[in-house]
Symmetry: C2
């Protein structure tokens, strides 16, 4: 018996981690890695489509071949982990780019909260007359009497603790009250006087990353920030892949994964705060939660189905699901803490964009502003005090490392700034000052701009057949060598290149963004000159060289001083709503007043998109500051 069972188990050792896991035959290397606690990049959700989970196994493996691998990789024995099936004891080298590592996640955000602060929770201290046989009214009613209220609702979870809390504090208690939809409820009763501590969290749920702020609701200070990858990421990189995974029976798993991500971050923040204070700060001390995320993430977080959002006509279950209790959403905070979910305007203009607009303040200005949030998708908002209009374009994950062979996230080892020298060699900066492993979004924009300036690509973004060892022909067309293998990190299996197909993907992405911007302006009868500021929100803007983004025709050509960066506006807006009633009312005003333009059925958008499939644009006159074409024709020296 024992022999039979063991014959089906194989040991898989992952290098350089040195982590081993026992699996049954038939398990893929990707699954084995998950079991070993190693997060491999699987943009496509493990379907062999993205080609990112490259590993080099030694030992008996079946399958794993893919046209996404090049000859060099094939020779080196590289396979896709999601397609490679374990057939015996293995040692597996993980190639650096395949790994989801620590990367630079934005935690910076603007602060702009009116004083005095007005979170929806407050604390009040009371000394109650003890219960006696002559005054043996119920504990809840005794408390309400002290508060001068005939009745106050209290969630069952909190009510269960009430009697013990009253007595353990000898009838001296601090009451946490929440005001939800204009009515009060008792969130918590603590023994003793604790009015000097009132904690909440602000959450930004991104498709890729989740960031949580622990906030002192009395002082309006951020006590700590923690961020991590959204644990859903191994189930698909973008919202489409996630929704498909959800429809294939993985919905509950995705809900659990995003909640686990948030709970993990809460745990880290509480541990840090406990250490700082020298006494334990508990989950139950967190009595208010504000959450901003895109519509798909908000749905997964709330456990709502996403099926009808994925397919035309892209309908969410609810734009404004409600003001739920933490326990209903599986959050490890005080179970009665109220959770504000930012309302979404549309399936692809989510609560994160409402939070961006809130953080930007653009809705308060008499002058016209445009907000651009480029993440896995691109969302654009145009407007001012009187009106706001929004749209979304499926920018695709090109700028986040997907759909580009050498692309990677903005993390250690990523080229984030690059220049092409006259001899077509490159000078670049790598995050963490390491040997390069790939190129992140800002690096790719730099690269396309440089390739255009140096004549490596033409106005249609086709790589030119130049006489240089930096440009070479392959079966699939030309490719440009960004860096030679010998200068790359230890795990490199070949040169770092950008292919014709990569550049075309980047071209479509930039065309979608610019096309969306110009469509909004056109629809509203506005000119670019009237736009007083362009707000760049999201992690993407952090490393970005806006000048180069203008050169390639991705962002509108306005003076650089009109560009403004608000960083993680989703988190900033979430934090504002946590702290201020005025900001919460503004959040609702933005939600109610912002209209949504569906680009997928808009002919103007298709015209604008097509015109943008050039560098910088069919109509060069729109980009006066872009380098003239003749410069590009000079070619290499």
């Amino acid at each position: 018996m024992a022999g039979d069972g063991r014959s089906k188990e194989h040991m898989v050792m992952f290098m350089p981690d040195g982590k081993a896991v026992a699996v049954t035959g038939g398990t893929t290397i990707l699954e084995a890695a998950r079991l070993a606690g190693i997060e491999l990049d699987a943009v496509c959700g493990g379907e062999g489509k993205c080609g990112r989970c490259r590993v080099r196994p030694e030992g008996p493996v079946k399958g794993g071949e893919s046209p996404l691998l090049n000859d060099e990789e094939r020779k080196a024995g590289v396979v896709l982990a999601c397609l490679a099936v374990v057939e015996g004891d293995l040692s597996v080298d993980i190639l650096p780019r395949s790994r989801i590592g620590r990367h630079q996640i934005l935690t910076k955000s603007v602060e702009d909260v009116p004083r005095p602060l007005s979170p929806w929770v407050r604390k009040e201290f009371y000394q109650l007359p003890p219960a006696t046989i002559w005054d043996n009214v119920g504990d809840l009613e005794r408390l309400c009497r002290a508060l001068g209220r005939s009745q106050l609702p209290m969630p069952l979870e909190a009510l269960r603790e009430l009697s013990d809390e009253l007595r353990s504090g000898s009838w001296k208690v601090t009451v946490t009250l929440s005001t939800v939809d204009s009515s009060d409820e008792i969130t918590r009763v603590e023994p003793g006087e604790t009015t000097s501590q009132l904690l909440g969290i602000a959450v930004d749920i991104g498709t890729t990353t989740v960031v949580v702020d622990l906030v002192d609701l009395l002082k309006g200070e951020v006590l700590g920030t923690a961020s991590d990858y959204n644990r859903q990421i191994t189930r698909g990189e973008d919202v489409i892949a996630r929704m498909m995974h959800g429809e294939e029976g993985g919905a509950q798993e995705l809900t659990n994964l995003v909640r686990e991500t948030i709970n993990g971050l809460i745990g880290r923040l509480l541990a840090g705060e406990s250490k700082r204070r020298g006494r334990e700060v508990l989950p139950t001390d967190i009595v208010a939660v504000s959450v901003a995320g895109n519509t798909v993430m908000t749905h997964f977080f709330a456990g709502l189905p996403t099926r009808h959002m994925r397919l035309e006509p892209y309908v969410p279950v609810a734009h404004r699901p409600g003001f739920f209790k933490a326990a209903e959403l599986g959050l490890k905070t005080n179970s009665s803490a109220r959770v504000l979910l930012f309302p979404s305007r549309a399936g692809y203009v989510g609560g994160d964009v409402v939070a961006d607009v809130l953080a930007s303040g653009m809705f308060r200005s008499d002058k016209l502003s445009m907000l651009i949030d480029v993440g896995t998708n691109g969302e654009i908002v145009l407007g001012k005090k009187d009106w706001l209009v929004s749209c979304a374009c499926s920018a695709g994950p090109a700028f986040e490392g997907g759909e580009v062979s050498s692309g990677m996230r903005a993390m250690d080892g990523a080229i984030d700034r690059i220049r092409i020298n006259d001899d077509l060699s490159t000078s670049y900066h790598v995050i963490g000052d390491l040997p390069a492993s790939g190129i992140c979004g800002s690096g790719l924009i730099d690269l396309v701009a440089e390739m255009y300036c140096k004549g490596v690509i033409d106005r249609k973004a086709r790589i030119q057949n130049l006489h240089s060892n930096r440009v070479r022909a392959t079966d699939a067309g030309f490719e440009y060598v960004v860096e030679k293998r010998e200068k790359l990190g230890a795990g490199a299996t070949g040169d770092l290149v950008i292919t014709d197909a990569d550049v075309q993907n980047l071209l479509r992405t930039k065309a979608a963004i610019y096309g969306a911007c110009s469509t909004l302006l056109k629809k509203m009868g506005e000119n670019l000159e009237n736009v007083s500021s362009i707000v760049i929100a999201g992690g993407f803007g952090y490393h970005l060289d806006v000048g180069r983004a203008i050169w390639i025709g991705m962002f509108p050509d306005v003076p650089l001083e009109k560009y403004r960066f608000i960083g993680n506006g989703s988190l900033g807006g979430s934090r504002m709503a946590l702290l201020s009633e005025k900001r919460r009312n503004e959040m609702l005003d933005i939600f109610n007043s912002m209209t949504y333009l569906e680009l997928s059925v808009d002919n103007d958008f298709y015209a604008e998109f097509s015109s943008s499939l050039f560098i910088p644009h069919t109509d060069i006159g729109r980009f006066p500051s872009a380098p003239p074409e003749r410069v590009c024709k000079e070619g290499p020296n």
Copy 2:
């Protein structure tokens, strides 16, 4: 190995059921019976105190002896199941009185609901414009738009189903709306037009029995009534025993048991209604729930701790816990159905009494009324339109079969009416027209009255040493033979007797009730002549001969036509609140206006109680219609 394990297991066969169960050595027979699905009576919670779980085992048993068993029983090999430990394979005869059987549970109740009906739920039919790419607003917002509302909250559970319900009905839907605390919420969305069906349930949670009505909320008709023992009963007969069990770690179990009882009844009602209609009626069709119960039962049902209610100063967690969702309370109805919990006035004047008062209508009258509910405890309410005052007395379970050796519930085999003939033999009626197994509450009142009239007991309720084979001396004092063994049911182990101790228990119970009634009158400065009606609520009143209850000095001596019986007022009140907003407001008025008098620290009560420890009373003038003492002295012929 196999041999070792088996040697610890013993088969226990229960007769006459023929049910067998395998248990390990050391298990008590009571535990074995529970495992076999047989409910034995265990008033004390299985602690050897009540002496009701009598069984006759054959085979190796250790322990089980008790001073509560008489000589005859000992000779016959009878033991207490809770004290008898299984030591080998056994056959166990269950004595009939030890079994919790089907008994007569009240389902009748008054109807007095103003029309048109106004439950807090209503249905509305809508045909929504289908979602298109030009109108792809969220499903919840589409629905709200059709309803002409900017926003309506919807519980997460219902929201999760919304998108599928809208589409499966081709955008023709019936919406169930609940109005809770003056604001609307969406409880359910069903495909198609179903406005002709709107179902709710009214629940009465008694310490002993639970009754559920399935109610048509459109017609105000009771579609079915189901009742059962409260499954908590095997964990102790009265609320004190239950609370102790809860404090010893059994709280969650007690919560589960009462919820299971209700859910079992809901299942039976739905099965019956499905059969009647010829199509399935589902739990999710039940969209409103009204629950009345005493304070302890309400706490267990809601999962609230009862510790501070058991001990002085007897403080409940909350008198008015809230208007929860069915899912929070573990009910197998529509998970978003709102559950109205009747508010309790005090630890021992619960929502059942508020419901009684509501059902009685006494709060609307200009004339003074008194309400008496005698169950495991006794509750008395005195008042009229302008004021209501309530109190509770621990009547003890004497009238429900506890604390009296021959007592049993009002079920098949119970003597419910009895007369003593001149030769001290008896004539009686047995429920179900079976041989007698014991005597229920109404029979005991008859019996005490008859014993007094025939001189078997004196004014102090001491059994007299009469020269009759019906009265005999035992070590513990005298006992009166109600019926000889040969005329009893097959399982009888001896004569059916009532002992001196039994009569003293009954005397204390009747004294507590009358003492409470007269204390309330005294406190309010009222005379009995001003009481225009006395309302008897609860199952106890159903079989009762009020005349005899007056004779023994239990109920006030007013003309019989002033007595009024409302049956199960707790269920009736619960049903009224389910159907009528006016009644719900009245429920709150009763709750708010009714004061509570704590008798346990009231000297007047102790004086009144002591004066009542005679038959009928120390002050015979209070009971002019009671038979004169000289009649009683005549003795047997």
